[in-house]
C-alpha cells in the first residue's frame, strides 16, 4: 500500500461518492468515484487495486483503470458477473461505495524508461494496464518503441475502443488488435493475441513486457515473448486471485509463499515462473 496515500486504517472502507457510471460493453462498466469526505486524492501506482464495498452486498478487489495523474477521480472498470458487481452497476450517481486501498505492487513504468515497451493484453486485462499506458504516454520521450497488442473475444467486445483508435492514430505507438471470433463484416485481424507478438515492432533485447489477461493467455504470451528473445526478468504479469483483506493477513490469495494482494498483483515473471507450472496453484 502506498504510504503517502494510504487510508487511515486499511481495513476500514472510506466512503466514496459515485460521480459517473458508463457502460463500456454489454457486460462491462466503468465507475468514477470521488472521496465523500473532502475530495481527498487517492494517489495510486499503475497496476494497483482497491477493495470496493457495496454496502450490504459485499466487497471485491478491482484494479484501478484511471489516470494516475488525476488522483481525485478513482476510476474502476469491471464486468458485471456476480452479485457485487451487478449490484455496483445498479448504483446511481451520488450513491456511496466503500473504498479500501490502493493495494499491491505496480507495473514497472519508471524502470522501463529507456527501453521499448510491449503491452500484451486480452479482454478486460486492458483495464489494469490503462494507467500504465497513460503514464507512458505522458512521458513518451523517455521510452523507445511502444506496442500495445490487444486481443478480444469479438469486435463487439473490444474494451476502450475509442481510446485504442486514438492511440493507434498517433504516430508514436503501435497498436494491434485481434479478435478470436468474427464475421466477414470485420476487416481486422482474427486470431490469438499471442500471434501479434512475433510481429510486434520492439527490440526483444531492450524491451520490458507488461502482460495482463486470463492466466492461460498470459502463459502463452510469455512463451511467445521468450521465443522473440525477451528474458523472464523483463516480463511482468498481473495475477488475479481471491483477494479479501488486501494486506496479506487473511491468506485467501496465497500463491505458494506469496500473497497476491501484497506481493502482487504485478509480479516479475522470473519470480513466479516456477509457480506457473504448478497446476494446484
Amino acid at each position: 500500500m502506498n504510504e503517502m496515500t494510504a487510508l487511515k486504517d486499511p481495513m476500514v472502507p472510506a466512503p466514496f461518492r459515485i460521480e459517473r457510471v458508463r457502460k463500456e460493453l454489454s457486460d462491462t462498466f466503468t465507475i468514477d468515484l470521488v472521496s465523500a469526505e473532502r475530495r481527498r486524492p487517492l494517489s495510486f501506482l499503475p497496476g494497483q487495486f482497491n477493495m470496493l464495498y457495496v454496502f450490504g452486498v459485499g466487497e471485491i478487489p478491482i484494479s484501478i483503470s484511471g489516470d494516475p495523474a488525476d488522483p481525485e477521480t478513482v476510476v474502476h472498470t469491471t464486468r458485471a458477473v456476480g452479485s457485487v458487481t451487478n449490484a455496483m452497476w445498479k448504483l446511481g450517481v451520488g450513491q456511496t461505495i466503500g473504498v479500501r486501498g490502493p493495494f499491491g505492487t505496480s507495473w514497472p513504468v519508471e524502470k522501463a524508461e529507456g527501453c521499448d515497451v510491449v503491452i500484451v493484453t486480452g479482454g478486460i486485462g486492458l483495464a489494469p494496464l490503462r494507467p500504465a499506458i497513460y503514464q507512458i504516454m505522458a512521458n513518451r520521450a523517455a521510452y523507445g518503441n511502444v506496442c500495445i497488442l490487444y486481443g478480444a473475444r469479438t469486435p463487439e467486445d473490444i474494451l476502450f475502443r475509442k481510446e485504442l483508435e486514438k492511440w493507434r492514430g498517433q504516430f508514436d505507438l503501435q497498436v494491434d488488435v485481434t479478435v478470436d471470433y468474427a464475421t466477414g463484416r470485420w476487416a481486422g485481424r482474427v486470431g490469438v493475441v499471442t500471434k501479434l507478438i512475433s510481429r510486434g515492432g520492439f527490440d526483444p533485447h531492450q524491451t520490458v513486457a507488461l502482460v495482463c489477461g486470463p492466466e492461460i493467455m498470459m502463459r502463452f504470451a510469455v512463451e511467445a515473448l521468450a521465443e522473440r528473445g525477451v528474458p523472464n526478468e523483463r516480463i511482468y504479469v498481473s495475477l488475479e486471485r481471491n483477494m479479501k483483506c488486501g494486506i496479506g493477513f487473511c491468506g485467501h490469495c496465497q500463491l505458494g509463499g506469496d500473497f497476491v494482494c501484497k506481493d502482487g498483483p504485478v509480479f516479475g515473471f522470473d519470480k513466479i515462473a516456477h509457480k506457473f507450472a504448478i497446476q494446484e496453484l
Binding site: V81, I124, G184, T194, K195, I216, F220
Partner: protein, 157 residues
C-alpha cells in the same frame, strides 16, 4: 524510385524456407509468382482444387466459412509474412475454406502441382518441406485451440 524485391530474394529471406540449399530454393522460386488481390476478392474458394500455396507479402487474407443465411465466419486472418494453405499436401487436394482478401493484398503463390511431383520424386526434399509445413500446421492448431477456449469469457466475483 520504388525498389522491388525479387521473388528469389524474398524466398531466401523468409524464415519458412530457412535452411534449404540453393538448388531447392531455385526450384521453389521457379514455381513462384506474384499475385495481387483487391479487398473482397477471393484467393480461393472452398471445394476448388488446391493447386497452390501462398505467402502473404503485404495485406490480409481471411480464411472463412460460408454460412447460409448469415454472415460468413472468419476462422483466422493471414497477414504479412504468413504462409497460407496446406490442402495441396493432403488428398483430395481441395480447399477446405474460402480465402478472401480483406484489403489490397500482394501474395506470392507457389505452383503446388509442379512442387508435388518434385517432392514425391525426391524424399529428402519432401521431408524438408513437410517439416516446414508441419510447424505451420502445429502453430495454427495451437492457435485454433486457444481460440476455442473462449479465454475472455466472464468469470465470477
Amino acid at each position: 524510385m520504388v525498389q522491388e524485391i525479387g521473388l528469389d530474394q524474398l524466398i531466401r529471406e523468409h524464415p519458412f524456407f530457412e535452411g534449404l540449399d540453393n538448388a531447392t530454393l531455385e526450384l521453389i522460386a521457379g514455381c513462384a509468382a506474384n499475385e495481387r488481390f483487391d479487398a473482397g476478392q477471393y484467393v480461393f474458394r472452398e471445394g476448388q482444387p488446391a493447386d497452390k500455396f501462398y505467402m502473404v507479402r503485404h495485406g490480409s487474407v481471411a480464411l472463412e466459412v460460408r454460412a447460409p443465411g448469415r454472415d460468413s465466419i472468419v476462422l483466422q486472418t493471414c497477414d504479412d509474412g504468413d504462409v497460407m494453405g496446406w490442402s495441396w499436401l493432403v488428398p483430395p487436394f481441395r480447399w477446405k475454406w474460402d480465402a478472401r482478401a480483406t484489403r489490397l493484398s500482394r501474395l506470392v503463390s507457389f505452383d503446388a502441382i509442379c512442387l508435388r511431383g518434385k517432392l514425391d520424386a525426391d524424399p529428402a526434399l519432401g521431408y524438408a518441406m513437410y517439416k516446414r509445413f508441419v510447424r505451420v500446421i502445429a502453430e495454427r492448431l495451437a492457435h485454433a485451440r486457444l481460440q476455442m477456449l473462449d479465454l475472455y469469457g466472464a468469470g465470477k466475483d
